[in-house]
Structures are given as C-alpha cells and as structure tokens.
Symmetry: C2
C-alpha cells in the first residue's frame, strides 16, 4: 500500500486497440515516464510532439483494473437492477450498476457472470457485449466493457465487498428522471444504460 | 512535473456536497494518507471502518481540476457540436464535447462561456446548468458540471490547445448509432448528451 516514487522511462504502451480511434494527426510520443505509483494507480508523464511541431508534456493515470466489466442486468424488458454502494471518491453512497475487474483467466463474459452472482446474487442465461466505455480519455486509461445480462435466475456466491450491496429494481422509464434529479450521476452507469436502451430497441428517439 | 512521494496524513476532505449522496451506513474515515502526487494528480489511501466493523483501506485519485464543465452546445434543436481531439489516455483521437476547468475567479457558467469560445469559436446567449456527473466515484473524485449552451453566435478567443480542435455538427438523432458503433465511447460525453436530451424534452422514452 505504500507509495513509491519512480522516475524511469517505460516502453511505449500499446493502448491503441478496442475502442474506435481515429489515428490521423496523432502526436508522436517521444518519451513516457512513470512519475509515481501506488498499489492501484500509476501516474505517467508523456512527452508529445504534435504534427505542427508543438511539444507538450501530458500526465495520465493508469489503473490496475484494465479489463473491467459493467453490467446492465434486466430481470424483464422494463426493469434494470441497480446497486447502491459506498463510493470513497465522493464519500457517500451512490446509485450505480454491478461491475468489477476480469481475472487473468476470465473472458469478459465470464467476469460479468461472476460479478453478477457476487454482487446481486443472480446468473444470466443470456449475456451480450454491447461495447466499451472510456471515462475521461484525455487523462485516464480506464475502460469498461458493457455487458447486457438477461434471463436471470438465482445464484449464491460471496463477493469481496466489506458489506452486502443494496440491490434495487428500477424501471427503465425512471432513468431520465433519476438522472435529472441528480440521484443517478455516475457517467459510466448512465452511458451503459443508454447503450442498453439502444440495444434493446427501446425507442430511444432524441426528437 | 517531477513526482514526489509523500506519506503524511491530511485532513478529512469535505467532498460531501453537490451530487446526490445518500449518507446512511457510510463507513467512518479513520485516516487519509497522501501516498503519491504529481503536478496533476494525488493518490490517497483512506482507512475505512464499515458499520459492521470491517476495516478496509481504499485508494482514490484526486485531480487538480475539481471545478470542471462539460458543454452540450446546440446550434439548433436537432444538432449538437462535438469535438475531435487527441486523448493521451487512449493514445488516439476521440469524439467528445467541449470541456475544461473553471478558473478560481470564474463561475461554472463563466467557465462554460470561455471554453465554448476557446474550443469551438462560439458564445451562447443562453446557458443552462443541467447537473453534475461523476466518473468512477469508487476510485476518482472528479466531477463535471454539465451546461447546455443555446442561441450561439461567433466569438474569437485563442484556446490553450496545442493544435485547433476539429469541431463537427452532429444530429442528435445520430447519437445512439454513434454510441452503438463504438465511435462515441466516452461515458462522460454520452451521459451529458443524455441529460441534455432529457432537458430538451426530446421524447427520450426508454420503452
């Protein structure tokens, strides 16, 4: 848990994958330095040269949880299962979706099944990958694979949470008002629900 | 830019504000330690005791940009202005929304007006705060105030970007397909667009 200071050059990373990236005019990465790290995070400085010759140093954060999943678990076509849990970043209990990291020997779908079981006590007969989300890609390397879970049945498996999560069944129709009221504010969960509503052909018509 | 290692106890933070937080059953923060920091980030360890007596140490990341805004700028009721820019976290050019940090002497709306001018060369006669987004509140303290910008007119002000951002006018009706295709993957932007579509009474009906 103790922090360590490091100032060594690491190899150019190979993050150019998975999400839809447009590569034209990308700056050249001249050097990557690891500035500091803890057991969960690494702070890196990247020395960049843009195509117009300008040079800048940008910082970014790497986390340990590179292969993470977020679940949209639907017990029926009108509802989604959400969880309330403590979030230390905002020092409060927040409304979100079941989620977690994939172990080294797990596929995203296997991780989704395990997290669903551990966090809400269910397993899904049908799991569908909907795509991948980034959070603040200018500063963070984190990504979440979004998985739709359907045809749910009970499953018992202990999770690694210090206390059980509160699971609630929320009508999809209530999502816009829960966002508007500020009760649901986590961008990652809102975006995953948006993807699921689109995938379910739920008449998401912005007009 | 050089990293520094620190191992001192800092005062309990006062982040319990702004977003909708449910405070029941929150664990007690026994101690907060600053593990490492750079010019942009601070990695903290929080020693927690949950209401059932369990103790855990959780890490979280603080950034320097606490007062940040994200803009949904609409030139007309059917379109939104989006930007393509380089994002070092994913080492590619991504589709997102205009955004930035508020200066110490700026309100969120003043910062929104300045960022709109710097990044897309427009000013808004009408600015509306739609709410606030968190990203991954279990690990990050970052928050973005979402501002809807309407009644737009030209404005010239140089930004601090190393190269001009590419600005594109996107039909709101195309947002679901751009998300489904993976072209638009930034959770923060997707969530802000969802908030704006709801606020504009755009018939967001998840059924």
């Amino acid at each position: 848990m103790a922090g360590r200071q490091v100032q060594r050059t690491v190899q150019a990373s190979t993050l150019r994958h998975r999400v839809g990236l447009h590569m034209r005019n990308c700056p050249t990465i001249l050097k990557t330095e690891l500035l500091a790290e803890s057991s969960h995070f690494q702070i890196e400085a990247l020395h960049l040269q843009f195509s117009n010759g300008q040079r800048r140093i940008y910082e970014r954060l790497r986390g340990t949880g590179y292969r993470s999943v977020m679940l949209v678990a639907m017990p029926d076509p009108e509802h989604v299962l959400m969880v309330r849990e403590y979030a230390v970043g905002v020092e409060g209990t927040i409304l979100g979706l079941p989620k977690g990291g994939a172990e080294a020997d797990e596929s995203y779908l296997q991780a989704a099944q395990r997290e669903l079981c551990e966090e809400v006590g269910l397993r899904a007969a049908r799991l569908t990958e909907l795509g991948e989300l980034t959070l603040a890609p200018g500063h963070l390397c984190h990504r979440y694979r979004v998985v739709l879970a359907q045809d749910l049945s009970p499953c018992a498996l202990d999770g690694d949470e210090p206390e059980p999560l509160e699971c609630i069944k929320v009508p999809l129709a209530q999502i816009p008002e829960r966002v508007a009221s500020g009760e649901l504010h986590e961008a990652r969960a809102i975006a995953a629900l948006f993807m699921a509503m689109g995938a379910c052909g739920s008449g998401l018509d912005p007009r």
